[in-house]
Assembly symmetry: C2
């Protein structure tokens, strides 16, 4: 064959059969010992362990999962929006740590918020027979998720609520976090509070907007539609939108609530450009690095991706390890508020 020059002949491959032979026992016994199954004489266990140590035997998880009844593969998959964004990667890390504790590996993929891509990823992952799936769902794959779940793969959906049979979720209290923050602005005396929101197709975006409305309703204040822009998907679009609102509207807002990371940053840029950063209040949803280094510091509604990831991993691993709760569990982790100055600017 095409033998790569300089490649060592694959000597390594010591198999269970080798161990069995050296220990002078049957193949089945070695398997039992390796898997820690009961009902093997103590001296045989010792012989097998000794032999496998001496030979440097390494258990082949792949081959094992082929025959194994539960087909466990010691791998879970994580479908994120984009492994490179800070929220996703913090989540990823938390999941990795939780999985590592049980010697489980993590496969990841980025959906880029595209249902087709997400579908494809879930497809590939389930084909590899991962033991479980943690998904930040785009919302276009509920049907697929339901079938996959029905076929036996435990699933935890994260960040966005989905209502599917025996699919657990971990979400953040978007509505309440937003409501409380906007309420702060109202209590500070702001009457005209602009709102910048993400794509309406995204559950969190809808929830946050609800919180904005609730805060106004709770304070008996009307919402001026002209101060609201939704379906904004980038920092640039936010820059533009808030610029329009601040300049074109005859009675401009004295505060802004930016319902997502990038939108906060876009708003920030425009405020600085217009020299309004010390006069218009700003609260963003979701913290970001260096928010405290800006002036004024940017106040945010914070969520804890590590906590979310940990929770998701716990729920998933719980189901994988046989806890077959017949109903879906929905964990909600609370948001925080970090006051850094921008949210504390009073109306003129």
């Amino acid at each position: 064959m095409a033998k790569i020059p300089g490649d060592e002949p694959r000597h390594g491959k010591v198999t269970m059969r080798d161990v069995a032979q050296r220990a002078g026992v049957g193949l089945a016994t070695v398997s039992r010992v390796i898997n820690g199954k009961p009902g093997v004489a103590a001296d045989l266990i010792e012989r097998v362990n000794e032999a496998s140590r001496a030979l440097g035997y390494r258990h082949d998880v792949t081959a094992s999962s082929l025959r194994r009844a539960d087909r466990r593969t010691a791998t879970i998959a994580l479908v994120l929006e984009d492994v490179a964004n800070p929220f996703s990667s913090a989540l990823h890390r938390a999941v990795e740590d939780a999985a590592r504790a049980e010697d489980i590996l993590v496969l990841t993929g980025s959906s880029d918020e595209h249902p087709e891509r997400e579908h494809e990823l879930i497809d590939t992952f389930t084909l590899r027979r991962v033991d479980g799936l943690i998904v930040v769902p785009t919302g276009g794959t509920d049907g697929q998720l339901a079938t996959v779940r029905r076929q036996g793969t435990p699933i935890v959906c994260v960040d966005r609520l989905v209502e599917l049979d025996r699919v657990d979720t971990v979400t953040v209290d978007n509505r309440e976090g937003t409501r409380a923050a906007v309420r702060r602005l109202l209590d500070l005396g702001h009457r005209r509070i602009a709102y910048l929101g993400d794509m309406r197709a995204i559950w969190t975006a809808r929830e946050r907007y609800e919180g904005y409305l609730e805060a106004h309703a709770g304070a008996g204040r009307p919402v001026d539609e002209r101060l609201v822009r939704r379906d904004i998907r980038s920092a640039e679009a936010a820059e533009h939108a808030i610029g329009e609102i601040l300049t074109a509207v005859d009675d401009p807002p004295t505060a802004v609530f930016a319902a997502q990371n990038l939108l906060t940053i876009g708003t920030l840029r425009t405020l600085q450009r217009l020299g309004l950063h010390d006069r218009v209040a700003l609260i963003g949803f979701d913290d970001f690095p260096l928010a405290d280094m800006l002036r004024p510091g940017v106040s945010v509604v914070s969520q804890d991706p590590a906590e979310i990831g940990l929770m998701a991993a716990r729920l998933l691993l719980g189901r994988i390890n046989g806890g077959d709760h017949r109903h879906a569990r929905h964990a909600v982790v609370p948001t925080g508020y970090i006051a850094r100055g921008s949210g504390e600017i009073p109306p003129p």
Copy 2:
């Protein structure tokens, strides 16, 4: 073919045998068709394809790799310092994209800069028979990497240079990037330039320091050891160190070069606290989000993690696909300089 939501029930495990039966051909023929091997009659190919489509057959990569001669598993592994840090995750994303183009999945793990942890990860990954390994090496695992490589697994080391047989590397031109930046400061008239560096055990840290020395040597300027602090590992430590240098030294520096992300941020904090951010020049190594939003904007030597990741993936996939280059290839990607103000502050 690409139907999106609410998919067919596709329960059951339809195997190659089922396809063979329905197509009225032998098992071996189905395998040949699926793997696109030559020497099958056109009508049989059509029959097999039709049958497999009709039954919704899905190729089981796991079982396949068990018997397969090359043992390819269509998976590569990525060992990063921490999946959650921006450099790592940007790299991760680039690798994911390159791999996806060849239907290859990516396993990841975080070493946290611990050799033992890295060793463990590499061990686990190779046991799973990944097709290749991309590693940001801690430096404590060269022996293991050499063995793994010798046993046949292609390896690309990233960010830090290692000299191992047939192990490719992708690094950034740390030395030159630093030299040029420090040279700028010197040309601007700065004579006393402080240096904050990461752990000396890390190759990049050593290289950057060399660049700092070279710049001084090239300009015929001496280096004052009292302005140099190395082995700093956190933003807090940097904050403290630079504070000491700025206040305790009788003839304080007029500029600072921070050789790593966190150190730049730590320095920034201290400069702001001391009210020196407009008077002491600062250049950092490695860009970070919002660096342009600070006052003054933070000038940095920039590296492109996406480019690095892409390059690494290319080298790896090249080897996986049979490119048996017998010598190691070392790609070096250039750094940039982004002037935002802080690096352009002249000496008093």
